[in-house]
Each structure stands twice: as structure tokens, then as C-alpha cells.
Symmetry: C2
Subunit: 246 residues, 2 copies
């Protein structure tokens, strides 16, 4: 057999091997790309779960209503990069929500009111999920730092199907919510719902402990508590204190 | 140029190309393997975070101490595949812990006692982390289903460095704890610590609301509550009821 024939056969084999290798390289690249995408998904999901866990711990770490509201609100606001936020709670038997906490607003933290069946609340509350709504000039709040954000992300807070309140997160521009963000906000809202309920139950029990059932007047326990407080205050400020019994 | 020379040069190029391709294929395979390992890590971490979040929600969903204890205990037991479990709580000013909840034990849920400075608690409590300890025949508990597990996984429950109690998870065999498992158990323990503290505060406040501060006797609120309960019970069982005022 001559050299040319041997070389020809070798070349043909080499070309075949080359084709096979190229095909498997391409397939491998595809797998690597798929794996990379899956990895990005997974680490996103892990980050969200870890974030939600941290928020759940923070929200549930107190039985004081004001603290619970502020922690839930600022965490939700931070997730969405909101310039300001407010937390509204339903009072039993009312069709209004009252502002119980806020940050970065130039008004008092408490005191504002929103009707449940009017915008900006109604669309989000009837959809029962986080929703971005445009505010008109009248309802746009003033910021501590100046400016009036024209968009609000409304996050309903509910517990076993019952509406407890809503968070309003003010945005400088309209924004589409990704499914991940909506899921995260719903998670924060459901953690907040439990923590708020517990804080309310504790507050009610505390009020019970300090008032007389029949007359609703402060009781002996209240007297002891206030007396101690006033004693401590007088001592702190080096004031005199008088106790008058009629 | 003759054919042999052309074929030879082609072959040489082909061999070079083959080597290059093989090298990049190998590198790609390495990347894919690394990605696969990273993916497994990530999804493990995501599963742990999601599990801990679910447990945090379950543990924090009640203010009733008994429920909090049972939920935390059974969740921790399920993670470790424990055949039985018990929850001990420190009473203030005591060097003992008392059993306040348990599952699958043939004794009463409440009532048992452990000295903090004696085994099986002391090694785990001084290490302040979950630890598997061997039980002697005297301390090995009896199971509902028969048998006496000889190993116990002790999980200390602490809050801001203060010991609140410990979970005992009974195992049929000695087991090395992985770092992930230890982390998960610590997470459950710290969630349980907060929920237990809140339940205790609520219980204390409830007791305050139902007793007179001076005499520690049940007050008017307690009377109203019990009266309603007894009325309902009588109605349910179609019994007569008498109310005696002295």
C-alpha cells in the first residue's frame, strides 16, 4: 500500500473524529449553559428564601405593635427601593384604614385615612395582590426630602382571607412587578399579618390587665406601674414628687 | 506538490485540531462538573432556607405556649428522623429543666425533670450547640411503640445568651451531625426561643388580666369568662346549672 492511501485513510478517520468531538463539545456547551441558568435560578431562589427568613425573624421578634409595623414596612420598602412608605390598618367595623406607621413622609406617622372602596387601595385590595397604582396630585404624599412620588405599590395584608390592612410603598416611577418580587412581598405581608395579630392580642391583654372590667377605670396594677414610672422619672430629673389620696 | 505531502500536512493540521478540541472538551466537562456541584449546593441551601422559613412561620403562628412547644419539637424531630422527643424549659431561679411537651414517649407529656449540670444535658449546654449524647439505661425513656432509644440529640434553646430550655430528640443509633443539620437545628431553636418568649409573656399578661393584683384572687373578668364557659358547657350537654351568690 502506498503512503498516499494510508494518509488518505488517516485523514478521513481524523475528520470523522473531529466531527464527533465537535458535536460532543457543542452538546457539552449547551449543558453548561443550561446548568448556568439553573444555578442563577437556584441562587436567586435561595437569596429570596434567606431574605424572607431574615424578615420573618425581624418582624416576629417583637410583641410591640409599633415596632412590628415599622420593621415590616421598612423591610418591604427596602426590597422595592421605595422612597417612602406607610402602613394602614383596618379598624374593626370600619370601611376605612388608618395610617399607623410611616417613613420618609413629611406628615405625622399616624393619623391619615384611606377608604377601602376608593383608589388607590381598591384595585389592589380587590385583586388581593401587590399592585402598582398611579396617584393623582391630591393623594400624592409629600416627602421629608421634598418631592411628591406619583406612584404607589399597594401590598394588601390579610390573614385567613380577612383584610387586616395594607402597605403603601411610594415609587418615583411606574414599575412592573416581577413574579419573584410579588412573591417576596406576599411573603413579607403574610409574616407581618401574623406578627400584627399577635401584637394586637398582646396589647388587648395588656389593657385588660390594667383596667377594671366593670368600670373600665385604671386598676391597682395600673396605679403600681404608673407610681413606679413617676418615681423613676422624679429621681432621674431630681424633682420632688407628691402623692395625694382623696 | 504531490498528493502524499498535501495529505500529510492535512493530517498534521487535523491532529492539531483534534488535540485542541479534546482539550476544550475536557475543560468544558470540568466546568459542567463544577456547575453541577454548585447547583447541588445551592439547591440544598435553598431547601434548607425554605424549610426553616416554613418552620419559623409554623412556630410563630400561635401565642399558646403548648402549641408553640409542640410545633417546634415535632418539626425538629422530623428533620432528624427522631423516634421521640421532649421539650424541657428552665423555670426562673432553678437549676433544673422541666418537661413541658413530648411526643411518642410512654410517660406524661409534662412533669419530667433534668438537672442542668448533669448529663445528658450538661455537655450540650456547655458547648451551646446541638450534640448527640449516649443515655444510660436509667435515663433512656420508654417509647409508646416499645423500645428504649439509647441516644439523644440535645438542642439547647437560648435567647441573647440566656438558656431558656432544651429539646431532646431520641435516636435509635449514634449519629454524626453534619454542619448543615446543626445549622438547621440552631435555626429552629432560635425561632422557638422567640416564639416561646412571646407565648410566656402573653400567658403572664393573661394571668394578670384575670387576677386581682392585691389578693391574687380571680377577678370579675375571670368570673365573666368562666360563667360563659360553664353556661356553654351546660347547654352543650343539656345539663342544669346553678349560680350561688354568698
Amino acid at each position: 500500500m502506498d503512503l498516499a492511501a494510508v494518509l488518505l485513510i488517516t485523514s478521513v478517520f481524523l475528520v470523522l473524529a473531529l466531527i464527533l468531538l465537535t458535536v460532543s463539545l457543542m452538546r457539552n456547551r449547551g449543558t453548561a449553559r443550561e446548568l448556568e441558568a439553573a444555578l442563577a435560578d437556584e441562587s436567586g431562589a435561595r437569596d429570596r428564601a434567606a431574605l424572607l427568613l431574615a424578615i420573618a425573624s425581624a418582624v416576629n421578634s417583637s410583641l410591640a405593635l409599633e415596632e412590628v409595623l415599622n420593621v415590616a414596612l421598612t423591610h418591604a420598602g427596602r426590597i422595592m427601593g421605595a422612597v417612602a412608605g406607610a402602613m394602614y390598618l383596618v379598624r374593626t367595623g370600619k370601611t376605612e384604614m388608618y395610617r399607623e406607621a410611616s417613613y420618609n413622609l413629611n406628615t405625622r406617622a399616624r393619623g391619615g385615612m384611606r377608604k377601602i372602596n376608593e383608589e388607590p387601595l381598591s384595585s389592589a385590595l380587590s385583586a388581593m395582590r401587590p399592585l402598582v397604582v398611579k396617584l393623582d396630585e391630591q393623594t400624592a404624599p409629600g416627602l421629608d426630602t421634598g418631592g411628591h412620588p406619583q406612584h404607589v405599590l399597594v401590598v394588601p395584608i390579610q390573614r385567613s382571607g380577612q383584610l387586616m390592612g395594607a402597605m403603601e410603598l411610594y415609587l418615583n416611577a411606574w414599575r412592573e412587578l416581577s413574579e419573584d418580587q410579588a412573591g417576596l412581598l406576599n411573603g413579607v405581608a403574610s409574616q407581618a399579618a401574623i406578627a400584627i395579630r399577635h401584637a394586637q392580642l398582646f396589647q388587648a391583654q395588656e389593657e385588660n390587665a390594667l383596667t377594671d372590667e366593670l368600670t373600665k377605670l385604671p386598676n391597682r396594677r395600673h396605679l403600681a406601674q404608673r407610681f413606679l414610672q413617676e418615681m423613676q422619672r422624679a429621681r432621674r430629673h431630681h424633682n420632688a414628687i407628691a402623692f395625694l389620696m382623696i
